[in-house]
């Protein structure tokens, strides 16, 4: 009897979800890290176009941090839409309009649901089988990322048991081998690619996030390929001046994109407030089945995000967004 067979007999599975989930393979992940992640302190600054071209592939499992309205990696999301990536599987946690943007643009065909803004186009995509939804919750998704970031295959959790979502997920209910009590376990999530918008990074990828967040660090460590977009590129001496402020270390990062106002029309807390008009426009586009028109106005006509900001938004509005962000305490190292 192999070790695998023996331990399978010892842990009693009381119930399990029946949905597909992104494959769990901690040793495969370690091997990927060994063979692909650059541990040399070498610059990895590049444009969003190059980062997406090199590190986002059709069929990838994609996680992005926060969302389109709050410190979202919107420049990189726009670039994914521009490059017409296909068959992406999205970690839909704490996300509002982003899922509709990625589904309506034809980029995404699967989503693990914690929460997203449902919309007419999403319902249509589900009915026409262009979109498959798997059910989790926000915290279950970030705990799955936590397991992925720890290099372990699953994590016991105290929520999610007893829900209908459980039945449509990759979770299992087991008899805990220590206490004998029932406990839910969820599969580790190791996305193919993570997009994280940060306040500051150096050219190597050492990154600082200020304020609250969802799972920046977990996503960075759990994902095979990591694209960081940063409001500011800072000198490595500045990073070394306050190492406690580093949220993500360089070796987890594959690409650093300098992305000022990269969360437009959302806020980057401490740096600029949202553009309420822009927020309402994307919200209305999603709820009113107007995502294609939105993308034709804000994404596809432009070569770069910076060009969109310059031509579509304008310096005056960007300055006003910065001026309106009056809270500064806590948003520096």
């Amino acid at each position: 009897m192999t070790i695998a067979e023996r331990s399978a007999g010892q842990i009693e599975v009381l119930a399990e979800g029946t949905a597909a989930f992104h494959p769990v393979d901690p040793d495969g992940f370690r091997a990927y890290v060994r063979d692909n992640k650059n541990r040399a302190l070498e610059p990895r600054l590049m444009t969003a176009r190059e980062a997406v071209d090199r590190f986002v592939a059709d069929g990838d499992y994609l996680t992005y941090e926060c969302n389109y309205l709050m410190r979202g990696p919107n420049e990189v999301v726009h670039e994914i839409i521009r490059q017409e990536k296909r068959r992406l599987w999205i970690a839909g946690k704490f996300t509002y309009v982003d899922v509709a943007l990625l589904v309506d643009s034809g980029c995404a065909s699967r989503v693990d649901c914690g929460f997203f803004l449902s919309a007419p186009s999403i319902e249509r995509a589900i009915k026409e089988r262009r979109l498959e939804v798997f059910e989790y919750s926000n915290v279950i998704m970030t705990l799955r990322l936590q397991a992925g970031a720890m290099g372990v295959p699953f994590l016991p959790v105290r929520s999610f048991g007893g829900t209908t979502g459980f039945d449509h997920s990759g979770a299992k209910l087991i008899a805990d081998p220590y206490t004998g009590n029932p406990i839910t376990i969820v599969p580790a999530l190791n996305p193919d690619v993570a997009l994280i918008h940060v306040h500051q990074a150096d050219i190597y990828g050492n990154s600082r996030v200020f304020g609250t967040g969802i799972s920046d660090v977990e996503s960075a460590l759990a994902s095979r390929k990591v694209i960081v977009s940063a409001e500011e590129i800072v000198d490595t001496e500045e990073i070394r001046r306050n190492p406690g402020a580093t949220s993500i270390p360089y070796y987890a990062v594959d690409a650093v994109v300098h992305s000022p106002f990269g969360s437009y029309p959302g806020t980057c807390p401490g740096y600029y407030g949202s553009d309420p008009e822009g927020v309402f426009e994307v919200f209305r586009a999603v709820m009113g089945d107007g995502v294609r028109a939105y993308l034709d106005k804000w994404v596809t006509p432009f070569e770069t995000f910076a060009e969109m900001l310059e031509q579509r938004v304008g310096r005056e509005k960007l300055d006003a967004m910065r001026a309106r962000e009056v809270v500064k305490e806590g948003y520096s190292a």
């Binding site: 929460f115 915290v139 105290r158 829900t163 009590n181 969802i214 806020t267 401490g270």
Partner: protein, 277 residues
């Protein structure tokens, strides 16, 4: 306390929840909207020593009000002057550890055992309607010691069995059902608040415990597809006060979106409150 001349239905629900807020307790308020505004109102008027967290892991903020539209989490005004900044996992784990006394949620649909549906109306995978999913509510409903649910008093919302359990109540209502599903011991739904009524559980089954003066018990039951138990004495809730409404309208929901200014109103006719249909 000053008598209010007029208020919206949703304002009634928020004021009712605000009065449940207690000093020295922790509240996990779901997302934006009614749960967060109810807790903030309670803190301002009745229990300054109550503390709250939201899904982005902020602990005990003193938000700079009003929020910008749709910016009730992560944004700097929302997390202003907190005691700690965290992440979604820190919020979830603190709740798993037992630090969250109350969870405050809203939902589409609730059933007799307090199970919550925010995912799908109709047969899952069929022709029904898709909604956003549980978000943080599943963890709130699973791990906070007590859960307060806010919803509208509407026949379609009070059902025998929800179409989809997004967040757990007492599941099938049998003793120990939550524990058998791996959820923490001694947790569960505590109150449901609507613009017309407040419910508790007797035990593990929804029971009408109080109503607003301008709606009868019969009218409430008519707006429940599945009839809840009814307490022997259905208490009468105090209407919103002018002080509560002032704060809601001028400090919290200044745009009138959450207070549902466009919905039904209740007005004082000189002798009593009357609901304008």
């Amino acid at each position: 306390m000053t008598r209010a001349e007029a208020f919206s239905e949703r304002e009634v629900a928020m004021c009712t929840v605000a009065r449940l807020v207690e000093d020295g307790r922790t509240y996990w308020a779901a997302g934006g909207g009614t749960p967060l505004y109810s807790v903030l109102l309670g803190k301002k008027l009745y229990a300054q020593g109550a503390q709250y967290v939201t899904e982005d892991g902020v602990i005990a903020p003193e938000p700079l009000l009003p929020f910008e539209p749709m910016m009730t989490m992560v944004a700097s005004r929302a997390v202003h002057r907190a005691l700690a900044w965290g992440t979604m996992n820190s919020a979830g784990i603190h709740a798993q550890l037992g630090y969250m006394d109350y969870g405050v949620l809203n939902t589409l649909q609730v059933d007799q055992h307090g199970n919550i549906n925010s995912t799908f109306l109709g047969e899952y995978g069929g022709t029904g309607r898709r909604f956003g999913g549980p978000g943080g509510a599943d963890t709130i409903a699973a791990c906070c010691w007590r859960t307060i649910l806010i919803t509208d008093q509407d026949k379609r919302k009070f059902v025998r069995e929800v179409d989809f359990v997004s967040s757990p109540g007492y599941l099938d209502g049998t003793p120990g059902a939550r524990e058998r599903a791996g959820l923490p011991r001694d947790t569960g739904p505590w109150r449901v608040v609507t613009p017309w009524a407040m419910y508790d559980y007797a035990p593990r089954r929804l029971r009408l415990m109080a109503r607003v003066p301008w709606v009868s018990t019969e009218e409430i039951l008519a707006e429940c597809e599945w009839k809840p138990l009814v307490a022997d004495e259905v208490a009468v809730l105090e209407p919103p006060t002018a002080e509560e409404l002032e704060i809601l309208r001028t400090e919290l929901d200044v745009r009138g979106q959450t207070t549902d200014a466009a919905g039904s109103w209740i007005t004082w006719d000189g002798e009593k409150y009357v609901r304008q249909a």
